[in-house]
């Protein structure tokens, strides 16, 4: 673990609330990028990510006990997600929930899911593996996903691939499922 982060975590173990409050600054500096990227996976919106993260840090200051035995970054991210982030992610869309057709359980699974095997991998590792897996796809499948990741709409992708929007959606769906299988196999082998 990074020395700066290790020292920041030591500061959080202080029983005095004012000391802990001062220790929050180095902790936020050391973890902000990692936590906001993690939240972005689930919300896809910077403003909501910041609001949730603010409450997450306040919770960590108030009750840092879960972070006492953390020994590496992956474990830190996992612990923070399970004990601090998930609770707030569940509350993000609670206001609109009563007007939705989606059940409460499905809503939770969509917005604040259990950590899957793939989500436990670090961002850098995931990026690397994903690039490798994209290389194994058929040219058309890879192109559809790459264009989607460039931010293009389905209609624009359909124009690019000279097909219909419905066909693009089906192609993307099948490719995503294929990627899921490839990534799971990779994880099991590793």
């Amino acid at each position: 673990m990074d020395k700066r982060l290790r020292n920041a975590l030591k500061g959080l173990a202080d029983p005095d609330v004012e000391h802990r409050r001062r220790a929050m600054e180095p902790f936020v500096r050391a973890t902000f990028g990692m936590f906001i990227r993690c939240l972005y996976r689930y919300l896809g919106n910077e403003v909501e990510c910041e609001d949730v993260l603010e409450d997450v840090y306040a919770d960590i200051w108030q009750d840092p006990d879960h972070l006492r035995n953390v020994s590496n970054e992956r474990e830190l991210l996992r612990t923070v997600y399970l004990y601090y982030m998930r609770k707030h992610l569940r509350q993000v869309y609670r206001r609109i929930n009563r007007h939705l057709c989606l059940s409460q359980r499905d809503m939770m699974n969509l917005v604040a899911p259990d950590l899957g095997i793939l989500e436990m991998m670090s961002q850098a590792e995931l990026g690397q593996v994903l690039r490798r897996m994209l290389g194994r796809l058929k040219a058309r499948e890879r192109r559809a996903i790459e264009l989607w990741m460039e931010g293009m709409s389905n209609r624009a992708i359909a124009n690019e691939l000279k097909t219909t929007v419905g066909a693009v959606k089906m192609l993307e769906f099948r490719t995503i499922l294929k990627l899921k299988k490839m990534l799971s196999d990779y994880y099991c082998e590793a």
């Binding site: 929050m24 910041e50 899957g116 961002q123 995931l126």
Partner: protein
């Protein structure tokens, strides 16, 4: 004539309704698009009861959402505009100060005018009376 009017009406409804009764692949791609564009509430609100049931019963949908989140994280999280960490730290500090204030306000305060315990023995009762007598004399 009536059937023609009804036909026209249903055609108009079909045009105005935004892709009702979507298949599971369409639902997943719409979810992925909403996640990418940061408008999940729009997607959630757009779901009809049939579509919500379709999502609930589809294992493929739930498997694919994990990869969708990963694609979103890998593809867009680094490009997301995040605030200056210094500014964000001051937000966190303000939130902590607010919680401290709340905790202090809700903590039971020491009250000087609390009820004194009733003396159980005669000696204690006599001491208490003597004390109150002294206080009266002092005030005079």
């Amino acid at each position: 004539m009536k059937s023609v009017v009804l036909n026209q009406k249903s055609q108009k409804e079909n045009r105005t309704m935004p892709e009702a009764d979507r298949e599971i692949q369409e639902l997943l791609i719409d979810y992925a698009g909403a996640l990418r564009d940061g408008c999940i509430p729009n997607f959630l609100k757009s779901l009809t009861r049939e579509e919500a049931d379709r999502i609930a019963s589809s294992t493929e949908f739930w498997q694919a959402t994990e990869v969708t989140r990963i694609l979103n994280g890998v593809g867009f999280a680094d490009k997301a505009v995040t605030p200056d960490v210094g500014l964000f730290i001051s937000r966190v500090d303000a939130a902590i100060a607010c919680r401290l204030k709340k905790a202090r306000a809700s903590a039971p305060a020491k009250r000087s005018t609390r009820a004194r315990p009733t003396p159980k023995t005669d000696a204690a009762l006599a001491d208490r009376r003597a004390g109150s007598q002294n206080r009266i004399e002092k005030s005079i």
